[in-house]
Symmetry: D2
Subunit: 151 residues, 4 copies
Amino acid sequence: MSWDINRVVLVGRLARDPEIKYTPSNTAVARFTLAVGGKQKNDGTDSVSFLPIVVWGKTAETCKQYLSKGKMVAVDGRLEQRSWKGQDGSPRSTIEIVAERVEFLGGASGPGKTADIRSEVPDMAAAPDFYYDNTETAIDFNPVNPEDPNF
Amino acid sequence: MSWDINRVVLVGRLARDPEIKYTPSNTAVARFTLAVGGKQKNDGTDSVSFLPIVVWGKTAETCKQYLSKGKMVAVDGRLEQRSWKGQDGSPRSTIEIVAERVEFLGGASGPGKTADIRSEVPDMAAAPDFYYDNTETAIDFNPVNPEDPNF
Amino acid sequence: MSWDINRVVLVGRLARDPEIKYTPSNTAVARFTLAVGGKQKNDGTDSVSFLPIVVWGKTAETCKQYLSKGKMVAVDGRLEQRSWKGQDGSPRSTIEIVAERVEFLGGASGPGKTADIRSEVPDMAAAPDFYYDNTETAIDFNPVNPEDPNF
Amino acid sequence: MSWDINRVVLVGRLARDPEIKYTPSNTAVARFTLAVGGKQKNDGTDSVSFLPIVVWGKTAETCKQYLSKGKMVAVDGRLEQRSWKGQDGSPRSTIEIVAERVEFLGGASGPGKTADIRSEVPDMAAAPDFYYDNTETAIDFNPVNPEDPNF
DNA sequence: TTTT
DNA sequence: TTTT
């Protein structure tokens, strides 16, 4: 009821191949890291940001199929914070970009193909809930190492 | 030379009062947490994201002056990932929203006032570099507890 | 197949009350003009932009119900160009912001209510097609005066 | 003093070569039309939007130098409405995207180069004012044919 | 852990 | 640690 405006648009390159997993209800979820070129710092250092992208549903499968490390994409999505308890019981959280649209820009196959999430994921609303569950399957489904900031 | 497109726009409420600090070169930097209303989850849970906002320069001071917990703002900025070494030497990183513009929307004083960062911070480019330094002052300048996901 | 990234986020005030109409297939479409404060010009003039917003479906009805001249909103949507033939047969076109989400910010009722378009408009895809038709109804449905900059 | 949030991000292809002109104070201004792929309409028609992009200053010159018809770019900027009197004295207006950043994505030379507008155009604030003047030079500087939807 |  |  309180859906605030929350919009992110990024252009960058995949820092690694997308990984895909499936929820128990069989919704696909892909993850990859996007390297987004930041402001050149005045000490000559390059300041790239490595940002975690999450994609749900059919779009996830399209990403898995067509994208790989080094490919350039544009992402249109939302910022989401996810909280969990660390192994020592302490509260932890990460921020992720949940992509609603991914436009493929780079590589040999050429630009122009866009994967869109709208109306492709009937059970998408359900999936995230499970995702946060602490069931065994969910754990397996969770980030391999949620402590790792770069996951 | 490779400044990728990187844009974030959020509307939400301050989850706490802004904190302001100054770099050695006397540039102001304010921080606050923005509560952004997420998608209502189907288990009835509210899914709010708490997102860390960073503001530099004169805009930071305007934010400190006019904003407080509960106020509503719109933020226009960029996503940045910041990396550092944890106390145990392990690599850690956070994602922050570096606000370029903050529009004040809520509260008694009414909406309409916008704090803009452009051309207000001559030494803004310099400041972030120091910010990442490992000098004592820098450490003091760093987040009190960089391990805290909600900082 | 070639859905390019196309994203607009605006905060401003309604320059006039929303108008609502219905397509033959009974999809609601609301229109209003958003006054968005531009860059202060150096001759002291205020440079406000008056931007045409289009909203489809249930969101349109929510806008009609809650919004009126002077209210503040945040709009998240897409840019669309619409072409037509003028009365003299010459080609004409306008650019509109098709809002996917409208967040109510201003007024007595307070902020926090967001109207969202996603999955609310089953026949939304069909509606625009009719909109571009040259049937009599469609003409009546078109802007009363497409030359009017404030339309 | 009332700079509302106003943000546009687009990915598309140049529908024609950029044109460059200079204001009397010698600030460069480039214009091109961006073809942005819209939603596939259900009658099989392709619904592309042709959107007018304006770029100021050094970025304008970089665009003129590197971009041409067919090249792919990402644009990050603001929406602006410009009003003028038609030849018959009637009020007219257009909406333009004033690009603050243009990222070059397509073509043989490959992606990765971004033209940025920030702090490159000292007299940028002055230039737009002239642009709206009714002097002879300004008229020559205005769109050759403001009625042309593809301008 | 990282992309060009 | 959290806003309405």
